[in-house]
Amino acid sequence: MKNTTKEQLSAFLDGETNEIEEHSLSRSLSQGDSLIKAWISYLDIRRATSMKDPLSSENHLKLYREISKAIKSDETHFNSSKRSNRARFAFAGYGVAASVVFALGVLLILPQKDESLVNLEPDVIKDDSYARIEEAAEQSDLLVNAPELFELDQQKRDRLRSYLNEHDRMVEMESDSKLANFKEVERK
């Protein structure tokens, strides 16, 4: 697990994280036990310094898993959840409509591009596409290798937040759906 995630957990337990970091932690929780192991270590430190609680690390681990399992299988539905379901369907409708419009736009624009390319020398096309590919690869390397170098401005944060919210909604919708889950089918 990345140190960034552990630092986020450390700050979260102290109530010092922001919304985006909470989303990130929430996702890390679904990706294995490493975050929980770090949590147990931090509980040990707290127990030794300021809070002598009656449970051992093993008990805390067991307890957390039991609570998490119980909540996962709990069928309580909140009103706002129902509202958000309606919103999800509306959003899905808008999404389909937007996709259709985009596809039509691409169909109308593409032939024009092809005609303009016919007039270009083959070498020019090749060089230009190589340059674009190299540029894109360089950008993606930067993003993968040094994500912390990019500070998001307010607008980008808002976009990221709305993306994350939408992602969560879609994940939630998937878990509610009655479609086949191929991963589970494979396991069986």
């Binding site: 979260f12 102290d14 109530g15 010092e16 127990r47 307890l63 609570i67 909540i71 909140f78």
Partner: protein
């Protein structure tokens, strides 16, 4: 409203929208505090585990009733002590006459474990103290102010005259060093 409370309100809103992972985060944040409070009721570790679990499940199911007038933890705390009292009544054991003050949570709590667990607890405390004493001064000060004094990052940054981000990083690095030391020794 302090930052931690705002974070809790945000997580509650997400839980109400159907995001169960946000509730898991609230469990991570408060499980130890709830079990520590229940330890005061002279319950066995198994009983503490059962009541802590019941507390969180009740909290989840009645999440819509949380209006945000009080702190999320205060609300959770009330559920925990009511559940503990009901448990003691059902077991025909008298609950304590006086409620435990919600603000006493970080004070030292009497362990209800057996002598073996108490020995382990004391050993852990010693090892952590040794680990803290070995830390560089800036990490040591940050973790002491946070863990022993319960100070916010903002307050620590004002005292240490450094940015909040630096405090956060120092506390994290201190925890990692302590964890390594504990794992080496125990």
């Amino acid at each position: 409203m302090i930052k931690s409370e705002i974070n809790d309100q945000r997580l509650v809103k997400r839980v109400l929208k159907g995001d169960k992972k946000s509730f898991d985060l609230l469990v991570l944040k408060y499980q130890q505090r709830v079990s520590a409070v229940l330890g005061r009721y002279k319950l066995s570790p198994e009983e503490v585990m059962d009541i802590t679990q019941e507390t969180f499940i009740k909290a989840y199911r009645s999440m819509e009733k949380f209006r945000g007038d009080s702190k999320f933890y205060t609300w959770l705390y009330r559920i925990a002590i009511n559940t503990a009292k009901n448990h003691l009544i059902s077991k025909s054991r008298r609950p304590p006459d006086v409620d435990i003050d919600v603000y006493e949570i970080t004070s030292l709590l009497k362990s209800t474990n057996g002598p073996e667990s108490e020995f382990e607890g004391e050993r852990l405390s010693q090892v952590v103290e040794i680990a803290i004493s070995k830390l560089p001064q800036d990490l040591k000060s940050a973790i002491i102010m946070r863990e022993y004094e319960g100070m916010s990052y903002e307050d620590i940054s004002a005292i240490m005259e450094c940015p909040v981000g630096t405090v956060r990083s120092r506390i994290f690095r201190a925890r990692e060093s302590i964890d390594k030391e504990v794992k080496n020794i125990i």
